[in-house]
Assembly symmetry: C2
């Protein structure tokens, strides 16, 4: 079972969940209310997000609050950063970029 961050954010529902809980931790039911999908479907997405550590949980009675883990998302940004220069940086820095990619 491949469970990396890139695969996790490939799904639009999961991306929406992340934007939701980035604001504040939420329970599965609260999250599911924001979507058409069933609670179970949403819960499955949360499970995937948890397994790849984009999300962590803290139990509170019978409720479970899921919260966003920024550090893991940073992995995407890190992979992206060498490319970033290609769309925003001046041409005299292109050599640096090429070196980074190798």
């Amino acid at each position: 079972m491949r469970r990396d961050v890139f695969q996790a954010i490939a799904d639009p529902t999961r991306r929406a969940i992340l934007t939701l809980i980035a604001i504040h931790a939420m329970t599965p039911n609260a999250i599911a209310e924001h979507f058409e999908s069933s609670r179970q479907a949403v819960s499955k997405h949360i499970k995937i997000l948890t397994e790849c550590e984009l999300v962590s949980q803290k139990q509170q009675g019978r409720e479970i609050y899921y919260q966003f883990n920024p550090q893991k998302m940073k992995e995407v940004a890190d992979w992206l950063s060498p490319f970033q220069q290609l769309w925003e940086t001046r041409f005299d820095q292109l050599d640096d970029l090429l070196n980074n990619l190798k």
Copy 2:
């Protein structure tokens, strides 16, 4: 057929292809040489990357050179940017972030 950038970069081979051709445009055969997978498998990945416009092509005789399109990749960076503040910015800017996410 869902064909967005996020789904495209979910596959590790496709990410590797992108890093490869970001340096300079390459033909499918040249790209395939860098992987275990067959030429056809790689070609399919290239097709997906082309369909979501992460890659564009220019024909040159019977060879086709595929090149990276930074602008499309920027979409990922744009989606990521509000989160970015969560792992690197000072706390007094957190309000701005929360507004951006809503």
